[in-house]
């Protein structure tokens, strides 16, 4: 379910790093908790983000939630497709439903995030 080459946050974002560039999205758990997503507010390309900084908003029929950047970096690309098809976040949260790409400032920040197996354990704790 949760890809091994991703890192995960307690707020249910994932980040996949390739070289200097990272892709960020929300996890399958997050989308299932939110229900049908109807709107995604995206940041601008070029925005500088701190770790834990809000960079977007996901609105579902049930709730409105902030999305936080797992690490510090500069936004290089946003998934414009989400404007027309926000439901991609529900259908394919770990791939086509990516939200932004970042140029990562400091890769050591990744060490503070969870691995796939740690995230799954974290979710088990939440279910109890």
């Amino acid at each position: 379910m949760y890809p091994d080459d991703f890192h995960y946050t307690k707020d249910h974002e994932w980040i996949q790093v390739k070289g200097d560039e990272a892709t960020v999205g929300i996890t399958d758990f997050a989308q299932s908790q939110m229900g049908d997503v109807v709107y995604v507010e995206l940041p601008k390309v070029g925005d500088e983000l701190d770790a834990h900084q809000t960079f977007g908003v996901v609105e579902s029929v049930k709730a409105v939630s902030d999305v936080f950047s797992p690490v510090a970096g500069k936004v290089t690309q946003v998934n414009e497709g989400l404007n027309d098809d926000p439901e991609v976040l529900n259908k394919d949260p770990h791939s086509k439903g990516w939200i932004i790409k970042l140029k990562v400032k400091d890769k050591s920040e990744l060490e503070e995030l969870m691995s796939a197996s740690e995230y799954e354990k974290y979710l088990e704790g939440l279910e109890e």
């Binding site: 908790q33 049908d36 997503v37 109807v38 029929v61 049930k62 709730a63 439901e87």
Partner: protein, 480 residues
């Protein structure tokens, strides 16, 4: 059941529901030629009087309302709106008074506003009220503007507003619109503000805390005095969201808890209609330190004479055209006067009793995330039903079949799958029992026949609507 057609679809060329007297003057084209007619709608529906009457009567019958049955939306206080209020508001001298009338001609109206403001100050222990804000959210904004004006006058508006995670959802946006950054304060295991978290975050950059008491869990913030002392000690102010005042009337007063400014919802606690039945009203009450900043005009009494007074140089200014939603204030005043002080206390006591009757009756069937005693509302969750893949949405939809309006869903966010339930004092024991029975039946169905829940509602005018498509591709107007 047949779907009610839109009035445009009923339309037939040549039908009409009016008749003019015979034209006995030369016809003038200037009106139709010069009038800015909208061209988006080519044809208005052509229908007979009886068709119009039947169409809207049928539509009204598909609606669920407090006059039909229990409406236990948590934190919304959907109590019965006594017909007496409407009768008073329709007295011609109220109904027909014009805001441009001379003040001498509307002494009675001014007396209504002043009396209501004074009574609200008495109930809440605040020093002064303005009845002008049009609803709770505007009341919040006005309250935050007062705080900002006060702090600015002291030299620094400050940066942050603290909002507990159990507060009302509009609080963060009110603070944000007023130019503050919002910091969320966590709840402890009792479901009240975590004082340690507050203390850790509190400093001289903090403008205020916005606290809902009792909070959306229905839990009374029993450390409210410690919270306000802490915030005051660093020069911050305390805003209380009074939406849940229905739990406190005649029992305790926010003014005694260290609250500096608060709003009330006349359409919740004071029995005026929500939405469709007329606008709301969100009066704001303050302690004397904030009084100079209240919006103008204010109603004052001089030598047995009422007048509008606007000479308050520190005032934040006007916040509403004319004098607020006047007739809503009339209705609420009718309510307060008909209840009297003992009656208002009984309202709160019965509201708390009713809520606890439901809580106790359903505690085996539905999970309670927080065990702390609650006041006028309680928050169940779908945790026990989740085992059978039944969610709070399914429970809510099934309640529609069983004759009740569903509780508030998925709020507060600190309870997953929340069903925030507030019966109010106006439900009889028999009506509470009907709701409890319905909920028990649902709990049983979740175990034995979850499909019936997942496909609910079965007996309503429409079945489960496609909310996602409606939100993603809204069709907001009829097109042929």
């Amino acid at each position: 059941m047949i779907r009610e057609r839109l009035i445009f679809e009923i339309s037939d060329e040549g039908k009409k529901g009016f008749s003019f007297p015979k034209l006995d003057v030369p016809e003038s084209k200037t009106v139709t030629e010069n009038f800015p007619l909208r061209d988006e709608i080519k044809d208005f529906p052509q229908v007979s009087e009886l068709e119009v009457v039947r169409h809207f009567t049928r539509l009204s019958q598909t609606n669920y309302c407090i006059d039909k049955g229990i409406y236990p939306l948590g934190s919304c206080t959907m109590k019965y709106n006594p017909k007496l209020n409407e009768k008073i508001a329709q007295i011609p001298s109220f109904l027909s008074s014009h805001p441009y009338s001379d003040q001498e001609m509307m002494q009675g109206n001014l007396k209504v506003l002043k009396t209501m403001e004074d009574l609200l100050a008495e109930v809440t222990g605040m020093d002064a009220f303005t009845s002008q804000p049009a609803a709770g959210a505007q009341g919040e904004l006005v309250g935050m503007m007062l705080i900002r004006a006060y702090l600015e006058a002291k030299g620094d508006p400050r940066k942050f507003v603290f909002i507990p995670d159990s507060a009302h959802g509009t609080n963060p946006s009110s603070a944000h619109i007023c130019g503050y950054k919002v910091k969320e304060i966590k709840s402890n295991q009792q479901g009240t503000v975590d004082l340690d978290d507050l203390e850790k975050n509190m400093n001289e950059d903090t403008a205020a805390i916005m606290i809902t008491n009792p909070n959306t869990l229905g839990v009374f913030e029993n450390q409210i005095k410690e919270v306000s002392d802490l915030v005051h000690s660093q020069g911050g102010l305390v805003y209380m969201d009074g939406a849940n005042m229905n739990a406190l009337m005649g029992i305790c007063r926010p003014g005694d808890m260290g609250v500096d400014v608060m709003h009330l919802n006349l359409h919740k606690t004071f029995s005026t209609p929500h939405g469709g039945g007329g606008p709301g009203a969100g009066p704001v009450g303050v302690k004397s330190i904030l009084e100079p900043y209240l919006p103008i005009p204010r109603v004052i009494k001089q030598n047995n004479h009422y007048l509008f007074h606007s000479d308050y140089p520190k005032s934040i200014g006007r916040i509403h055209g004319f004098y607020g939603n006047f007739l809503v204030v009339v209705k609420a005043l009718a309510y307060v006067l008909s209840q009297g002080p003992d009656g208002l206390r009984e309202v709160s006591e019965t509201a708390v009793l009713n809520s606890n009757y439901i809580r106790k009756s359903l505690e085996k069937e539905f999970h309670l995330e927080y065990k702390t005693p609650t006041l006028h509302e309680c928050v169940f969750s779908d945790k026990l039903q989740k085992k059978h893949q039944v969610s709070n949405l399914d429970i809510a939809k099934r309640l529609i079949d069983l004759g009740a309006h569903p509780p508030t869903m998925s709020f507060p966010l600190i309870v997953h799958g929340a069903l925030m339930t507030e019966p109010t004092e106006t439900e009889s024991k028999a009506d509470l029992d009907l709701f409890i029975q319905a909920m028990k039946q649902i709990a049983k169905e979740a175990e034995e026949n979850p499909e019936v829940l997942k496909s609910a509602p079965h007996h309503s005018y429409v079945r489960r609507l496609d909310e996602a498509t409606a939100a993603r591709n809204p069709k907001l107007r009829w097109e042929p």
